[in-house]
């Protein structure tokens, strides 16, 4: 009898441990993780080079990581997932095209692009933060539409602003920006190539880009350990308590939105320097969603996110997005990458929104 009970207890303990692990890691993370390992294991069958695949994945992680990092401050301050990230992208694009207009190249061009974009991002972020303070509780929906409408508003500006650089404007009309602008002659890979590793013909590791990302991660991590950062987290976890202990809720929220927007701007510039193209007009419209999906895949929720979530999430998400289409492509000879991207990223966001959490009645 007693033995039996013990046995049951043991089983329960094991079950409990497994359940705890699943609770901590979350089903999607486990499934996607296993799937990703499987995909990497399948590279020989699909006649792909493992080193190329790994290198592609790492480059894409570096490209997208900062945009994912940009989501952390707003989640922490209780503003939810920043679907309004395109607003930051717009600021980044402004910085990037201005630096090209001034004909700046190399690292100087890249950092002046970042430097120019930051004031724009601060202004946009401040206004956006003020707006979000007035609509507490409905941030996510409104953020989405702020993102959409700012992108479509700037479509008009891209047409009308008097840019002159022949690389950027339409050749025959002499005015209006092109839909994609190449950064190749200016600052493509200028950051990635710092200390970059090349092993063999196919493996390339963009060290500079990762160092820069690590620096930003460190800054954000350090920020959340300062007094202001702690206050921000407090506002996110319990606004009433924060107010009672003398923290200005609105100020903290605005600050978090500004930081998020600035990071978004930096993020898109880093993306462009690696990708080689600046996509304008409707290009940034849906670019916020993959970032959101990535951080959620990393284990963040609508209420909590940390740097670890960003790193794990970006790796898993970009890994799947790089690997799955290329494996499917070489096995079935069809290109399903677009559909795959939509289903994975939107499915992930949907999962997070429908999860029963404490904030959800």
């Amino acid at each position: 009898m007693k033995e039996n009970l013990n046995n049951i207890n043991e089983k329960r303990n094991f079950g409990q441990a497994l359940k705890n692990f699943i609770d901590v890691a979350g089903w999607p993370r486990i499934i996607i993780g296993i799937f990703l390992i499987l995909l990497f294991a399948m590279t020989p069958i699909a006649k792909l080079r493992l080193s190329t695949s790994l290198s592609d994945t790492l480059v894409r992680v570096g490209m997208n990581a900062i945009m994912v990092l940009a989501l952390v401050p707003m989640v922490q301050s209780g503003c939810g997932l920043n679907f309004g990230l395109p607003l930051g992208f717009i600021a980044g694009i402004l910085g990037a095209i201005l630096s090209i207009e001034f004909n700046l190249t190399g690292l100087k061009g890249l950092f002046s692009a970042i430097g120019i974009s930051i004031p724009f991002a601060v202004i946009f972020g401040y206004a956006y933060g003020q707006l979000l303070n007035r609509v507490k509780g409905d941030e996510m929906m409104i953020a989405t539409y702020v993102g959409f409408s700012s992108v479509s508003l700037f479509c008009i500006f891209w047409l009308l602003l008097p840019f002159k650089s022949p690389v950027m404007v339409w050749g025959y009309a002499g005015k209006g920006l092109r839909t994609t602008i190449s950064t190749q002659k200016f600052w493509q890979n200028s950051l990635s190539d710092i200390l970059s590793l090349r092993i063999g013909e196919t493996f390339y590791f963009p060290t500079g880009m990762f160092l820069f990302f690590a620096l930003l991660c460190f800054l954000i991590w350090a920020f959340f350990h300062t007094k202001v950062g702690t206050a921000m987290t407090a506002v996110g976890s319990n606004p009433d308590y924060a107010r009672a202990s003398g923290v200005s809720v609105d100020k903290m929220r605005t600050l978090s939105v500004v930081i998020s927007t600035v990071l978004g701007a930096i993020g898109i510039i880093i993306y462009q320097q690696s990708y080689g193209f600046i996509q304008i007009y409707n290009g940034p419209l849906y670019m916020g969603f993959p970032a959101v999906a990535a951080i959620l895949l990393g284990g963040a929720s609508v209420h909590k996110a940390n740097i670890g979530n960003v790193i794990i999430g970006t790796f898993l998400f970009q890994g799947i997005l790089t690997m799955a289409p290329s494996v499917i492509n070489s096995l079935l000879q069809t290109d399903m990458s677009e559909i795959f991207r939509i289903i994975i990223s939107m499915g992930m966001i949907l999962y997070a929104l429908t999860r029963k959490t404490k904030g959800n009645r």
Partner: protein, 388 residues
């Protein structure tokens, strides 16, 4: 002295009433002011505008009407109505393949779309019940998500799994549907069912009125009015007012919410079929993209909010929104010398108007909450100060 006072009072009253009116309908007023400037700038004739407007009213009203029930049930704007639109499009592809023409084709398309729409509606309702308090953003993401599935089905399943006989529909690689499908079989079959054209002269095509489509829309309006009065309709409104109170008085709120979404999805499917029979070509991968977007924008332009909308809002909204749609490319060309600006502008307006309407609504609700809280606080603090 007193007279002046009275006059002042009167002015004040009028001013106050105007302010109340503005604060009640801020979005339509903004829109009307905007249109007053742009409509003359487009240099279109009144006749042309009326003709276009009638076409667009017939084309879009049904889709916008399908948003009403979820709002009544307190679920906000159902951006997942694109699911219905997808169901409609799949059935249109099928009947084109079966080459069934005219009115029978139209009704068969509706019949085929029903089960798909009901299934999708159930799925959507189930998901939205799990995301209470953030239905709108969830429904929007669900729309994007299902778009991926739709593309998968149409691009890969049609041909190998779902048999398509007509090779003209398929891509040259042998499976997947072409980008654009000619819906010649049912083009404007409902619009032209009862052909009426007024003010027709030898040189002027006149104003065409698609009576049969309007009859369909009117029938549907009556359905909504009738539905509001039934037991389920009343339940729905109760759930929309306060879910918890409704539940404690014995209404199965989850089931009611689910039902409202299912009906909305089915109606959106029919709406999309009506829309496409008027347009005449189905662009397989884009037609449904903006459906939810434009329908929501139209409704909000008509003065509806996230929590209240009626049939009047629908027609006012469709009229105003589509007037802007017709006018803005030409107005953009005449004002700024670039038609493309107008094209981008109308997309911006459709996004911006939703943003503004959502912000205004949320802001208002917030202020009311704050006021309530302050009132409560005063009530609780007064006795305390007395005892102190």
């Amino acid at each position: 002295m007193r007279k002046i006072d009275n006059k002042n009072e009167l002015l004040k009253n009028i001013f106050k009433n105007i302010m109340i009116f503005i604060s009640k309908y801020p979005v339509p007023i903004m829109f009307i002011i905007f249109l007053i400037f742009t409509v003359p700038m487009s240099h279109f004739t009144v006749k042309y505008l009326i003709n276009e407007l009638l076409t667009r009213l017939a084309r879009n009203s049904f889709l916008v009407l399908s948003l009403l029930l979820p709002i009544m049930a307190g679920m906000g704007i159902n951006f997942a109505m694109v699911l219905g639109a997808m169901a409609g499009q799949i059935s249109l592809i099928l009947i084109t393949d079966w080459s069934i023409v005219g009115i029978p084709g139209f009704f068969l398309a509706i019949l085929v779309s029903l089960p798909i729409a009901i299934l999708l509606g159930f799925l959507c309702g189930y998901i939205l019940n799990r995301a209470k308090g953030r239905e709108m953003v969830t429904s929007m993401i669900l729309g994007f998500f299902m778009n991926g599935f739709y593309q998968f089905i149409v691009l890969y399943m049609m041909g190998p799994v779902i048999p398509i006989k007509n090779k003209l529909l398929l891509l040259s690689r042998g499976f997947g549907i072409r980008n654009a499908i000619n819906l010649q079989a049912i083009r404007q079959c409902i619009d032209d069912f009862i052909p009426i054209t007024i003010l027709k002269t030898q040189y002027d095509p006149g104003i065409k009125i698609p009576i049969a489509t309007f009859i369909l829309i009117a029938l549907f309006c009556f359905f909504i009015i009738w539905f509001k009065k039934t037991k389920i309709g009343q339940d729905m409104r109760a759930v929309g007012q306060d879910r918890l109170i409704a539940e404690s008085s014995g209404i199965a709120s989850d089931r009611t919410r689910l039902l409202s979404i299912v009906i909305s999805t089915v109606l959106a499917a029919i709406g999309q079929i009506i829309f496409l029979q008027n347009v005449g070509t189905l662009s397989t991968y884009n037609s449904h993209d903006q459906t939810g977007q434009f329908a929501a924008a139209s409704l909000l332009v008509g003065g509806a909010t996230v929590s209240s909308a009626n049939i009047g809002n629908v027609f006012l909204g469709v009229t105003l929104f589509h007037l802007m749609f017709i006018v803005s490319p030409m107005a953009g060309k005449n004002i700024l010398g670039n038609a493309q600006v107008g094209e981008y502008f109308r997309v911006f307006v459709s996004y911006g108007i939703i943003a503004i309407a959502l912000v205004l609504y949320s802001w208002k609700r917030h202020k009311e909450k704050e006021r309530e809280r302050m009132a409560l606080r005063q009530n609780t603090t007064t006795p305390k100060t007395k005892t102190e």
